[in-house]
């Protein structure tokens, strides 16, 4: 964090904030990747809250990456709401089923490895945020 833009290729990483198991996998994978130095962490809630520092950091980054737990893709949509199309990864598109995928070290590593290899199935998919700004998942994602 606090990356100087004199270094090129700044990557910011955001994860799902949901309470479901796939959300936990997304969150812990993001923390692991950040600790490895794959990217810098940021805060998707800060962007959703309209905090100018988080928003401008996202706009100034060379690459923004989201890891969402499920296909509702709240993190990706929050970035799209401010005009940014991130590289998007979704845990349930990596073979994990919502509600029956504990956040084991193996599961977290599988997600991390997919991201390290750039195995994103959803990056080119165009999505539109819900009109009310909510994801409609009832806290499950």
């Amino acid at each position: 964090m606090g990356e100087c833009a004199c270094n090129t290729g700044t990557k910011l990483l955001y994860s799902c904030s949901g309470n479901a198991d796939v959300g936990e996998i997304a969150d812990r994978a993001a923390r692991k990747l950040r600790k490895e130095g794959y990217s810098h962490g940021s805060c998707i809630a800060g962007i959703g809250a309209g905090i100018s520092g988080y928003i401008q950091s996202a706009k100034g980054a060379d690459v923004n990456i989201t890891i969402d737990g499920c296909s509702v893709a709240c993190s990706r949509k929050i970035l799209e709401n401010i005009g940014i199309v991130p590289v998007s990864y979704i845990v349930t598109e990596m073979g994990f089923k919502k509600g029956s995928s504990p956040a084991t070290p193996e599961a977290i590593e599988t997600v991390c490895e997919n991201i390290r290899k750039g195995n994103s199935a959803t990056v080119k998919e165009k999505t539109f945020a819900a009109a009310d700004g909510g994801c409609g998942c009832g806290g499950k994602c």
Binding site: G2, A5, G53, S57, A61
Partner: protein, 79 residues
Amino acid sequence: MYKIEILGTGCAKCNKLEETARKASEEMGIEYEVVKVKEINKIMEYGVMITPALVVNGEVKVAGKVPSIEEVKKMIGGK
């Protein structure tokens, strides 16, 4: 009085942003003060993840790049 803050640890881009902000303020003829914020924890309090960043009256206007003088004028002017 406009409070202009330059967030960054003192690299070349930070210095360039400060210079640009000063020129823009002078050309606008506004009353202003420039504060340099170099302490990383203080920078993080703004939610800024990449530097340099320009803050005008408490609002982060840009981060991670150095805009042109004309762009900075618009940022200071609130546009």
